[in-house]
Symmetry: C2
């Protein structure tokens, strides 16, 4: 009996990332991706999102906002997406640099004034500011970690989506 074991740094399949990078380098069109989510309203402020074949992602609002508090609300999910995205960026870039991550946590918070959402004044209804603090324990000197951090921030899809003005088109298609 032969037992074959491969230990991957940070458990990251760097070959897959390298293969994708080479494919996109060879054919720019391979880098053009489209992502989707389909949301169905479930009554009150509850809804369910379907992404590919995964189990529905539920959403609700706290009672103070008129919801039944059955799940994180949309703005909390947005903050979670940023934290997840930074974790992926750290795992990918650290592995490419040969840095082993011992522990990685990302605390995300955002401040939001409810006046526009409640219709009390017009203007920006979104987050006024978002901050993420990355708590990293890794086997590398600080200057390497600072360079790693810079690379992650410079390439974060969710981070850039939040910090840049993204053309967002919302269209009504009545069905009855």
């Amino acid at each position: 009996m032969t037992i074959s074991t491969t230990t991957l740094l940070n458990d990251v399949d760097l070959d897959a990332v390298a293969a994708l990078t080479e494919a996109v380098r060879a054919d720019a069109a391979a880098g053009a991706t489209t992502w989707r989510a389909d949301v169905t309203w479930r009554g009150a402020f509850r809804s369910a999102a379907r992404v590919r074949g995964f189990a529905d992602l539920p959403s609700d609002e706290p009672a103070a906002l008129g919801g039944t508090d059955g799940a994180p609300n949309p703005v909390e999910q947005l903050l979670a997406a940023l934290g997840h995205c930074l974790a992926v960026g750290y795992a990918a870039n650290a592995t490419a640099r040969g840095i082993e991550i011992t522990d990685l946590r990302v605390q995300v918070r955002g401040d939001l004034d409810l006046h526009p959402f409640l219709g009390l004044r017009p203007g920006h209804a979104g987050f006024d500011g978002i901050s993420a603090t990355v708590h990293l324990a890794a086997d590398a000197p600080f200057d390497q970690l600072a360079a790693l951090h810079e690379a992650v921030v410079a390439t974060s899809p969710v981070g850039h989506t939040l910090s840049a003005p993204v053309p967002t088109t919302i269209t009504l298609a009545t069905t009855a």
Copy 2:
């Protein structure tokens, strides 16, 4: 025996929304909210987000991007958050206008060029564009639904967060 039943339009607790609106109108500081998500890396491109006391929200990447494909990825979660937010906005504003919603689905899609994420060129790593199509069946004439749509788009916290440049600060705090 007395049976008391209250039927809420769209199942929405409009009294709670009205009470919050009045509280914020009376004291502007009551409209200042802070939201949080704490993300923990789980190895490879897997992570888990904790929001208040809810069950962890998992995240992963597709195999083509080097992940183990165990959950929607961060950019898909971002699109889902937009769909959820629009559903809440529709439910709240329709109810305030006395419009009954029969069916509401939101299809969200976003286009993203992987070159910056993969380090193949600098620049905007986020979505280049996001579109949401709202499929609405409701008991009201089209001009009322068009006005409803306009009100929802004008007050969507996630919609505005994506379409505006939000100050986003990402800080490294090494722990070892």
